[in-house]
Structures are given as C-alpha cells and as structure tokens.
C-alpha cells in the first residue's frame, strides 16, 4: 500500500474510534451508577487514545498538510468514514452495550491482524490497543450476559437494541477497493474471515445470554463513501463546536 492509501486506511480506523469515543463521552455523569459511569468513560478514553494515534499517523503519511486535529475537527459529515454503527445514539444502556460489544469484536480482530504488520508505528498502536480491547470485550460481554439473562425487562431491552442495531453490522465485513488493497498487504482480514469471526463470537455469546440474532437480511451500506445516518451530523456539530466557532483556539 502506498502512503496515501495507508493514510486513508488509518483515517477509517481512526474515525471508528473517534466517533465511538465521543458517544462514550456523552455518558459522562449519566451512567447507571458511579462505577459503571467510570468504566464506560474509560472505554471512551481508550478509544480516543487510539483515534489520536491513528490520526496523527495518517496526517504524517499524507505529508503533514493537515494535523490530526484538522482531521478530527475540520472535516464534515461526508468526509468521515466511520461505520454507521459507531454513530448510533445512546438510546438506553442496552444500546450502548450492544453497539460497543459489536465494535469491540471488530476492533479486536482488526488489531490482531495489524499487530503483525511490518510497520512499527501501526503494529505498536495495535499491540497497545489489543490489551485495551480485550478488556472492552470482557466488560461488554459481561453486560450482554447480565442483561440478556437478567430480568424480563432487561432481556426485552437488550433484544430491542440488538434488533435495532443489527442492520449496521453488515458494514463491518463489507469490502471496497481500499479494503482489498489492505488485505493484499496483509493489513486487514478478508471480509469473509471477519464475518465468520464476528458471527462465531456473537452466536456463542447470544446463546449463553438467551438472545436471538434477528432474521432480517437487510444491511446498510455507504459509510465507506461518506454516507451516514442522520445522527452523525448532530454528533459532529457538538464535537467540533469549539474549533468551528473559534478556529485554531488552543489552551
């Protein structure tokens, strides 16, 4: 992969992390109880760290025409390439858990492959992130079990979240030209491999948690071309407010 494509590859991955980090930051002081509030923010902090490292590297690969901050705060909706799943709102605690659980599996697999690449910066980022993600997966899958196998209400709420979010999972193993380039260079798993990993993990966990995978076969597509659900615009409005209102503001 040449520098420009590798930079695009890093921006995609960085965008997933950045947008999720912002969603997690919205939970600050709104968690169900103090300890879980802190736990959720910690997940967000880890993701923000990964986003920063990836966007800094992407900016460098581009030739330093933009900084990581420019990438995060000066791009508009259509220029973001995060999965639609990552921008879905914190409708209730079950939605947060399901969204983050699916993404934690995706990131685990992604970083496992990246940890092996012949690029010290990327493999370094991936190795550090793997430790964080294995904890994310552990914490989130505990909640999948707890809510799925808890009371009638918790079961119904998390099943609703699964049903509502399921159509966004298809993007996680979809492939476009850049993905194929990354796969050729062994920077990313094949779409089929990602899909079978996700399905195996989710099927096993859902069986344990008395949850069912929806029958629907419709899957959204488009984030790789910068197409998003209506939620991303509102998220960016808030996330980018300061840099938009006071360009180059620093403290």
């Amino acid at each position: 992969m040449d520098h420009l494509n590798l930079s695009k590859f890093c921006i995609r991955l960085g965008d997933h992390c950045l947008i999720m980090a912002h969603r997690q930051s919205e939970l600050c002081s709104n968690g169900p109880f103090l300890e879980e509030d802190i736990a959720q923010i910690n997940l967000g902090l880890d993701l923000l760290g990964q986003a920063e490292a990836l966007l800094i590297y992407a900016a460098k690969l581009e030739g330093n025409t933009r900084t990581a901050d420019d990438l995060a705060y000066r791009r508009s909706e259509r220029q973001f390439h995060n999965f639609m799943l990552t921008e879905q709102p914190n409708t209730d605690f079950a939605f947060v858990i399901v969204r983050q659980y699916f993404m934690s599996l995706y990131l685990l697999k992604t970083y496992q492959v990246l940890a092996e690449v012949d690029d010290d910066t990327l493999s370094g980022i991936a190795l550090k992130a793997l430790k964080e993600l294995s904890y994310h997966e552990r914490h989130l899958s505990m909640w999948i079990l707890r809510l799925g196998d808890g009371t009638d209400e918790s079961q119904q709420r998390i099943q609703t979240a699964v049903n509502e979010l399921w159509m966004f999972v298809g993007e996680l193993y979809e492939e476009d030209a850049l993905d194929l380039l990354a796969q050729q260079a062994s920077y990313a798993p094949k779409g089929e491999e990602m899909k079978s990993f996700l399905m195996a993990q989710i099927t096993a966990k859902f069986a344990e948690a008395s949850l069912t995978i929806p029958d629907s076969i419709y899957m959204t597509t488009g984030s790789k071309q910068g197409i998003h659900t209506e939620y991303l615009g509102f998220l960016l409005t808030e996330m980018q407010y300061l840099q938009r209102a006071y360009p180059d503001a620093k403290w």
Partner: protein, 122 residues
C-alpha cells in the same frame, strides 16, 4: 429457565437478607449493588493494602469496577476484592481490650533487636 447469573443473583440476595437480619447497623445493599473492599499489592512480595471500596452485583463486576477505579495508573501488581460484609470489624470505642498497647510491659515490644541494614519494608 433459571440460568447462571440469575441463580447467582438470587443467592446473593438471600445472603444479603440474612446479613441484614444478623446486623441491622450495617446496610451494604442499595440500588448500586453490594459493597466490596479493594486491596492492592503495589509490588510483588509486599502486603496487600486497603485502597477503597466499590459497588458491584457480583465477583466479576467487582474486580472490573475495582480495576477501573484503582489500577489504571500502574498502582499495583495484584488485587483482592472482598465482600464488605465478609470482613469482621472490631469497634475501637467499645473494645479497648483489643487495642490496649500494654505500654507498661516493655517485654512485649520487640525494640531490643537491631535490624540489619539490608532489610527493607519492615
């Protein structure tokens, strides 16, 4: 169908109810779950020290919450989490006999030994 977690929760609720009956003064149950005490070992070989407490509904959640609160900045190498109601405490106000230093009995205090220079953490 009653599966693992539900069973565990039921069991905990039962235990908590029994504990409540046993000691009315110590109420550790609220909507945030049970209270757990966290002990951290800062270095291998050193004793575990009390660090604070966390709320959680079971053991797995207790260690995870303790990790999020207390060990994210390299504070320790080891961690114990103990249900607060499993700790038997002595009330210093009412049980002076546990704590009287017996200052008049010098032979009880090992002050006549000299510690070799190499010994740390004593």
């Amino acid at each position: 169908m009653e599966r693992g977690f539900v069973k565990q929760l039921r069991h905990m609720q039962k235990n908590t109810q029994q504990n409540k009956q046993m000691s009315e003064t110590k109420d550790t149950e609220d909507t945030q779950g049970k209270l757990w005490e966290v002990f951290i070992q800062s270095k291998k070989g050193l004793p575990f020290k009390h660090f604070g407490s966390v709320h959680a509904f079971d053991k797995e959640m207790a260690v995870q919450n303790a990790r999020d609160l207390y060990t994210r900045r390299g504070e320790g190498k080891g961690m114990w989490v103990v249900p607060a109601d499993a700790i038997v405490a002595v009330d210093p106000a009412n049980d002076a006999c546990f704590f009287e230093p017996a200052d008049d009995k010098v032979y009880r205090h090992p002050t006549f030994y000299e510690l070799p220079d190499g010994i740390k953490n004593m």
